[in-house]
Amino acid sequence: MNIQFDPFVIPFNIGLYFILLYVVTRSIIWFRDLSRPDKLRLQRGFFGTAFAMSLKEIFMESLIHRKILKTNLRLGYMHMSLAFGWFLLIFFGTVEADIFGTKHLNAPYKAIFFRFFNPDHGRTGFEAVYGFLMDLILAFILSGLLLAIIKRFYSKIVGMKKTTRLKLTDRIALTSLWLIFPSRLLAESFTSGAYSTGSFLTGSLGSWLATFLPAQQMAYPFWWLYSISLGTFFILLPISRYMHIPTELFLIFMRNSGIRTGDKAGTFTEVQAYSCSSCGICIDTCQMNYSAGITNIQSAYLMKAIRNNDDVSAIADNCLMCGRCDVKCPVGIELSPFRMIQRRAGEAENDIRNIYKGYFRSRQIIIPEKPVLSSNYNYLHENEPAKADVLFFAGCMTHLTPSIKNSMIKILDASDVKYKFIDEQGGVCCGRPLMLAGQDKEARELINYNSRMIWKSGAHTLVTSCPICYKVFRESYYLDVEVLHHTQFIKMLIDNGSVKLNFSRKKVVYHSPCELGRGTGVYDEPKEILRHVSKLETTKFEDSNSLCCGGSLANLKISSYDRRKIATNTACELTKENPDILATACPLCKKTISSVTQTRVADISEIVAEALNINLAKRNIISQVSSIKELVKI
């Protein structure tokens, strides 16, 4: 016997066709909203290696969830079992329907409800094996589901410290998602129970149920439930966080075709916002969370707030911009640039209230902010800087840590470079702090001023002691000079032998500053210098995993009290092996950390300056030079 149709499949069909239709329309809208160059990129992205890479990534990340697996096995397994398992179920289900079904190319529901329409299938040989496979997959999914349910109630078990909070539609979607597989299990079991088919899972469960229940009658409602939960899930998908499932595919394609966040909101930012699966890894890795107990501003919440069109300004400004979540995000959302855009943006107008907007939101709006209270720096009058090959720009923060400044002078004097200390009498801010506050227009004024100064000096190299300055000099200045952080510069001096250093037996650990490390990718030079002059030891927080000192200028909201908590925590972590020196390469880090630890905190320049090996004659000259400097200062 072979029925071709039954009314219970209607909810599923509605859901399925709705979501397919929706995804298509949505992707058209998104594509339309892309900037012209991005359109071209995307088109190119569909051919050649980019496409292959995308497929690979989709498989590795969207299905297997490799990144999550790496950071947290149980969480990874959970995501994988659901995503990959479901994928297999659909895939093999379709195949099953295709080969064992009455005809080829069935309507999808035939595959999904195969067991209903072919109840007495799977008794013999190959069919049985196939049935076994299907049951296996189902079991695989259910195991993951179990974890998910547990996680929802006790986060710890899956190794999550925090779990994201949900809004109503999310809850409904979640429940329907949870119902899908149990209901399928029961539906299939009852059917198999009735026809005594089915494999180890459905079969055995079915026959057992059949012993005390009217399997034939019981099966039908569960098929309904199965179909309904599928339908509901599909329909709610676009306004629930599970939208990340389809969206992530777009994200991967876009990324691999070279589209980047940039500095304006648009399709890509929106796609990123929807690709966030709220896995909560960003929450776990956020120091503001686990050191200062601030638990409502992490990137997951930022994404959610944006999806809900809430006012995100408070969230956006309350972040150290250390970039730890950035490197850890399994979906690879560019969280820091994303946040910067939100800082520049005004409050988004709240249009989510009408349900239609939930599905077809107007492209993420940035209301043109009321004209910014324009800053006025015309009090900066330009003077003619002396000519020099190398410019040393200490930076505001370095002026608050004279030891770094003096060490750099000592090193520069010791080397034979012809340099000029450009902001010896206190310079103009590099502009990065303004940018971090989302005030690019003002920042640009300062950037232009500094740029002119640098051009006029005719230097070919610009050395700065402050990673904050370094980042902005490199990224936002249009300079024809080589910009170096002093660690890079010192490394250079060592390599070309312009400075000779003594080795000290001191035990040193290195704290990589956010702006220098994750910010601009300078990880190795500092460590190489330290290896050169001392016993560098590693910590649990190397390179991209390094901690933030908590002093970051990027956070406009955090209280000094909470900053201190973070700093203390970081200091403890880094001084666990009680080193002689906690080395860093940022005046701000030095200042912040040294105020909360007994261990000596020193900038690399200081360590190098102390290790300088200068022959007597030269030393005298320098002492004279420096003494003259003093006089001049006075």
């Binding site: 009321k370 406009l556 909201k557």
Partner: protein, 114 residues
Amino acid sequence: MNKFGFTISQGRQIDYESNSRRIADYIYDNEPSFRLCIECGACSATCTAGNFTSFSLRELNILIKRGENDQVYQSLKKCMLCGKCSLVCPRGVNTRNIIILAKKAFQLSDEYTV
């Protein structure tokens, strides 16, 4: 009108009642540490902008609190937001947020055409 060869001088007195402390209240609500300022002047001493022009966060705080908003509005523009002040503040005042909130408060109010 000046047919007497002089005009009536305006007083320098701050008239506390007639001044509007809208800006101050906005900051109080959003940055409580604003209240902690004891006007020690550490911020002004280290100020990058203050090195070039007559800008003093200490004075700014007072003027905001007294509601001398026109003056605040003018000097607010000079800040570079570099954050040295927040590092030297003995009372842990979140100085940069004060500047940002003040700017925002002015934007929110329509009295000030920017």
